[in-house]
Subunit: 340 residues, 2 copies
DNA sequence: AATCCAAATGTAAGCGCTTACACAGCAAAG
DNA sequence: CTTTGCTGTGTAAGCGCTTACATTTGGATT
C-alpha cells in the first residue's frame, strides 16, 4: 500500500511551500486566488486528505467534542445527542462519546480520558458532581457545557425540571388529587431527578398540603422497576395519583396498574416526564412533560463550538417545556359516588 | 494556566530519557522494575497524562474506533452501540460516532471523515453500500467490521434476518393465516430489511402460497408511518396478519388498529421485529423477534480490537435469534357470513 | 523612475511522542 | 582477563502539520 500523500507532497507538486498549502486549506483568504486554485487542483489530483493527528498536535485543536452521558440506551438522551452530533458535524467536529452508567467515578474517569485526548470541548449531563471535577476542567482550560438541566449558577442549557414538574403537579392537584404517590429515579447525584421532586413538593405546599405526606419510591430507570415501585406505592399509600419522574417509570406503573385491574385514570392517575415516543404508544397515552430535546442538542452544539473558538461563554439557556395531556390523568373518583 | 507536563518533564525529573518513560508507559516489561517504579512515581507526582495527538502521530495509532450508524434515535442501535462502547473502553479505546440518517452519500462522507481522523477500526451497519467504499477502505488498510447483519460473504457479526423472519412467518402461517400484509422499512440500500422480506417470501412459498400475493407497504421508520401503512394495507388487502419489519412500525400498526376499532389479535394479528423495550409495553405485547443486541455489540468490539492489533480477521459470527411471543399473534378468525 | 508598504509566500522551528539504532553494563563462557 | 551475548537505556530522527517571522513581490505613491 502506498502511504497517503502528505502536505509536502502537495506542496512539491504544486510548486509552493507547505505553508501555502496549509493556508489554502485553513484560511483560504490569505492566499491569492491563482495560487489557491493551483493548490486545490493538486490536492484533488493527489486525493490528499490532511492527517488529523498531525494537525491536532501542531494546532493544539482536535476538532473533536466529547460527551459523557449516563447511557445511550436511555431514549431521553438519544434524541438530543443525535441532534448534537449532527450540528457538530456541520462545523467539522466529530463526537467522542463516553458513558458513565450513572456512576460518578466512571464519569470522572471518562472526563479525564476525554481531556487527555484533547477534546476541544465537553458536554456533560446535569450539574451534580464532585467540585474537584469542575476544578480540574477549569485548570485544564477546556470548555464545558452542562446540558439537560438549566441552572443559572453554571453555564448550562436545558430546562427547569423543578418548574416543569411543579406545573404538572399543580394542575393535577387542581383536579382534586390529594393522595399523591411519587416514583422517582435515584436522586443521589442526579439534580434533575431532585429538581422534579422539589417541583412536586412546591406544588403540594402551594396547595396548602404537607409535602411530608407524599409517598415517594425511588428506583432505577427501567419499566420493571417502575411497575414494582407502583405496587409498593399502592400498598403503603393507595394514592389517587402517581407522579413518575420519567416516562419509562410511568410506563411501568401504567402496565402494572393494568395487570392489577386498576383502571387508569379512573381509579388511579399516572403521569410521566420527557415525552419520549413511548408516551404516545401506551394506552391510554401518558400525560407527561414535553421537552425540546433536539433543540437543546443543537443549541448545545452551537454554544460549544463557539466556546472552542474562544468566544466568551455566553449565558446559558433555559428552554421552555409544556405539559402534554394524554389520557392517564383525570380528576380522582369521588369516593361515595359512581365517579366517571 | 501552566501547560500540562510532557514526557520530557517526567524524564528530566526522574533522571532518565524520554524513551524510557515512553517504554514504562507502553511496554513496562522492557524496563527493569527499579527504573519503572521511579518513573511511575514521577508520573504520579506530576499528574502526567500523555498527549494523544502526539502519540497518535508518532505511533500511527489513535486508539479510536469509529462507528457510522443510521441514527442514535433508533432504539435498535442504541443498546448494541452502548455495549460496543463499553467494551471498547475496557481496552482503552474511545468511540467516535457518526450518523448517516440512512443516506448512502452521507454515510460515505462520514466513513471518509473517520478514516481521515485515523480511526484504528470502523464499525458499519449492514452490508449494502457502494463497492467503491469497500475498495477505499481496503486501500486505506483500515479494519472494518459490519454489524447488525451477518453474511458469510464479508466479515460481519449479526444475525440472519432472513431466517429469523422466515421462522416467525412460518409459525404464523401454520396458525392459518393466508391473507398477509407486510409493512417494511425502505429496502433500498438496506439489506437487513430486504432479508426480512425474503424470509417472509420463503415462508409463504414453503406453504404453497404465492409470494406475489403479499401486500407490501414500504415506509420509513416511525410510529406514525407504521400506522398509516397499516391503514393503506387494510384498504388494499384486508390481511388477517400484518408482519412488520420492526417493532416501531408494528407499534404504529397496533395503535392504528385500536383506533379503527379492530381487535388484535382477534380481527388482525400483528408482529414486529427486534424486541425493543417498546414491544412489551404496548397492549397486547408484541409478538416479535428477539435479537441479542448487547452480545453483538460486545463481540463486535472484541473483534475490532483484535483486528487493530493485526490479528487475522477471524470468521464473522451469526448470532441466534428467537421468536418472542406476545399477544398480538393468534389464529385468524374463521370468516363470518358478512364482512365490513 | 524611485520609494514605500501591504499582501503574498517561504523558511524553519516546533508540537509531544515513538522507536530504530547505538551503546553501556554485566554475567557467563572461553 | 578477554570475549560474547544479552538486557536495559540513551540518542536522535522523524511523524505531518501549523505558524511566527523573514523575505519577496507588485502596486500605489511620489
Amino acid at each position: 500500500m502506498v502511504s497517503a500523500p502528505t502536505l509536502e507532497d502537495v506542496a512539491k507538486r504544486a510548486g509552493v511551500s507547505t505553508a501555502t498549502v496549509s493556508r489554502c486549506l485553513n484560511s483560504p483568504d490569505k492566499v491569492v486566488a491563482k495560487t489557491r486554485e493551483k493548490v486545490m487542483k493538486t490536492v484533488r489530483e493527489l486525493g490528499y486528505a490532511p492527517n488529523f493527528s498531525a494537525r491536532a498536535l501542531a494546532a493544539r485543536r482536535t476538532q473533536t467534542i466529547g460527551a459523557v452521558i449516563p447511557t445511550m440506551e436511555n431514549a431521553i438522551f438519544a434524541q438530543g445527542l443525535q441532534a448534537f452530533q449532527e450540528r457538530l458535524g456541520e462545523d467539522g467536529f466529530m463526537l467522542l462519546v463516553a458513558s458513565s452508567s450513572y456512576d460518578r467515578d466512571i464519569e470522572e474517569a471518562q472526563i479525564r480520558a476525554l481531556v487527555a485526548r484533547g477534546a476541544d470541548g465537553i458536554l456533560l449531563i446535569g450539574h451534580d458532581r464532585d467540585p474537584a471535577v469542575y476544578q480540574f476542567l477549569r485548570t485544564q482550560n477546556v470548555p464545558v457545557l452542562i446540558a439537560w438541566a438549566y441552572s443559572p449558577e453554571r453555564l448550562s442549557i436545558g430546562f427547569d425540571n423543578r418548574a416543569a414538574m411543579e406545573a404538572l403537579a399543580s394542575h393535577a392537584i387542581e383536579l382534586g388529587h390529594s393522595r399523591i404517590g411519587v416514583i422517582t429515579a435515584p436522586t443521589e447525584g442526579n439534580d434533575r431527578a431532585r429538581g422534579r421532586i422539589e417541583g412536586i413538593r412546591a406544588a403540594v405546599s402551594a396547595a396548602g398540603m404537607n409535602p411530608e405526606d407524599l409517598a415517594i419510591e425511588e428506583t432505577e430507570y427501567s419499566v420493571l422497576n417502575g411497575a414494582d415501585a407502583f405496587d409498593r406505592l399502592m400498598v403503603v399509600a393507595r394514592p389517587s395519583l402517581v407522579i413518575c419522574g420519567n416516562d419509562v417509570l410511568a410506563a411501568g406503573a401504567l402496565r402494572r396498574a393494568g395487570e392489577r385491574g386498576l383502571s387508569v385514570p379512573g381509579e388511579v392517575s399516572i403521569t410521566g416526564f420527557d415525552d419520549i415516543e413511548l408516551a404516545r404508544l401506551v394506552t391510554p397515552k401518558l400525560t407527561t412533560v414535553r421537552v425540546p430535546h433536539r433543540q437543546m442538542g443543537e443549541a448545545a452544539a452551537e454554544m460549544l463550538i463557539g466556546m472552542t473558538r474562544g468566544e466568551t461563554p455566553q449565558e446559558g439557556r433555559c428552554l421552555p417545556t409544556w405539559t402534554r395531556f394524554g389520557g392517564t390523568l383525570a380528576a380522582p373518583m369521588v369516593p361515595r359516588r359512581k365517579g366517571r
